[in-house]
Symmetry: C2
Subunit: 313 residues, 2 copies
């Protein structure tokens, strides 16, 4: 069920280990897509990861939340100057090894296990592959690394946590900026903060357009959540944060699936489902649309953002 990953941090290793995450730009500097960057979108909570930089493995980690669209971490400073500002972040709970190990010291065991395509290391000499930021590896490689570290995988005992500290921190910073923004009226500031929780004017605006949950048909108002289509934290303007066209009334379960990018919608109202979620589980979670209702043009433009930046396909 879990997947296993290998990150080649290079010069941002210290920032990413201290910050509890991995981050990559969405695309190469040339604008081309990269499998090694797209892999961040494939990670799911509970996955395990090996941290590699400068020839050594100093930590292993547990993926604690789904990837989210995030600008380049400011702490990268000059180290991140080559990368686009627009990227993916995945929160990781790192566990620093008591013993630093070098893959080149056990290359004869490691090489036969390396994937033929998108390998993190070169099988013949154990050097990190250029451009291979995040690679999928087999459980055998992860087990081998754990054994070399010489201690059991303590992370195995951790349960996944359902909210991410990093997202909370970013939210708090943005909320403080809004509260101190003297270009906005006090009422506007209050409504923008309320909007994040699906409350106030935003909720009212959404309710004018959406009376029931798109997936379940539930209409019990006090249970429904007014969630943003383009996430509140990614909105660029106050208008986007308060726009009723940028919201859906969903049951808490469906809201969470939509928020985590496990489902999305086409403009026709057709539901899109991520491959990361097993079909039988999806049915149990109630995510289906028997009666797809087309979205308006303004709703559709927010949905385009959701499909490209939140939905994980």
């Amino acid at each position: 069920m879990h997947q296993f990953w290998w990150v080649n941090h290079k010069k941002t290793a210290a920032d990413e280990l201290a910050g509890g995450y991995i981050w990559s730009p969405k695309k190469e500097a040339s604008g081309a897509r990269s499998q090694f960057y797209d892999n961040l979108r494939r990670m799911i909570p509970g996955d395990r990861i090996v941290s590699y930089a400068n020839g050594t493995i100093k930590a292993i980690g547990l993926v604690t939340d789904f990837s989210m669209a995030m600008p380049k971490p400011t702490e990268f400073g000059r180290r991140g100057v080559d990368w686009d500002n627009d990227g993916w972040l995945v929160p990781i709970k790192w566990q620093t090894n008591q013993k630093t190990i070098r893959p080149r010291d056990f290359l004869e065991q490691l090489s036969p296990l390396l994937p033929r395509k998108y390998s993190p290391l070169q099988a013949k000499n154990g050097h990190g592959n250029q451009k291979a930021y995040l690679s999928e590896i087999s459980s055998e490689i992860f087990d081998l690394v754990s054994k070399k570290i010489g201690e059991p995988d303590l992370l195995m005992n951790e349960e996944i946590e359902s909210t991410s500290d990093l997202l909370e921190k970013a939210t708090k910073i943005l909320e403080e900026e809004i509260l101190l923004d003297s270009s906005l009226s006090l009422t506007a500031r209050k409504q923008l903060i309320l909007a994040r929780r699906g409350q106030g004017i935003f909720r009212k605006n959404v309710f004018l357009l959406e009376k029931e949950c798109r997936c379940t048909g539930a209409k019990y108002q006090s249970l429904l959540i007014a969630g943003h289509i383009k996430p509140w934290i990614q909105c660029k303007t106050s208008l986007e944060r308060l726009d009723g066209n940028n919201g859906l009334m969903l049951t808490p379960t469906i809201d969470r699936l939509f928020d985590k990018g496990l489902i999305s919608f086409e403009s026709s109202g057709k539901i899109l489902v991520s491959k990361t979620i097993p079909a039988d589980q999806l049915l149990k979670l109630g995510a289906k649309t028997d009666n797809p209702r087309p979205f308006s043009e303004r709703q559709s433009s927010y949905l385009t953002h959701h499909r490209e930046n939140v939905f994980r396909g």
Copy 2:
């Protein structure tokens, strides 16, 4: 769909209007049940309420959340000395009238509309009925009062908000108490805070006993919420807050129904459903148990607390 209510505040009027709530003890000083106190359990978000004290109506209000078990507000001080500490609180968004009105000034219109049983006022003289703290009234009475105030019911335009400021405030105070409690280790304090969000050791403890959602059968771990049976804020000890027997793994929608007391469980595993929720909506929200699994003895004792203090029957 909405219900209408009339509160006779008496000496706590100022506290309740300023605080944004109504509060009553669960029982009479004699230990007897009271319909006027039980009525707080019947309120649902979106209901309207008339505020009456000392012969005048100074405000009307909107019910913004379900009732919750709460100790007597400390601001009552000496004014609340006759009441038991154990009570119900319902969050209200009050709107103070521009014009104070007196029911006795339009008694000839009001009297015929008053209910025969559990009336807030005496039909013959307009005096408040002794013991009638919270009474259900007809929409006609509410409309009459709104008309007398001489302004449209502004509250009608408000949408219900999904979380309660009051509960958040109480939670924050309790969290701060825990963080400063030097009788607990730092780790214990951290785990108690994490437990409120269904994280950390508490989640691990629950997962050892409960692998899937009791109502939907969903097993997709990263979507399930580890919620308390006896609410975190009502727990008396650290043990209760971290006890895996005091938790269920539920989908976000079912967790919310359980948390708001709209569903509960018998020890046999049979689901109990509140009359406040329409049957067709319940089905759409996915709340059913095809395969009731009996609870253990320790789980059952927490469920008894839930049925008596959270479930609204």
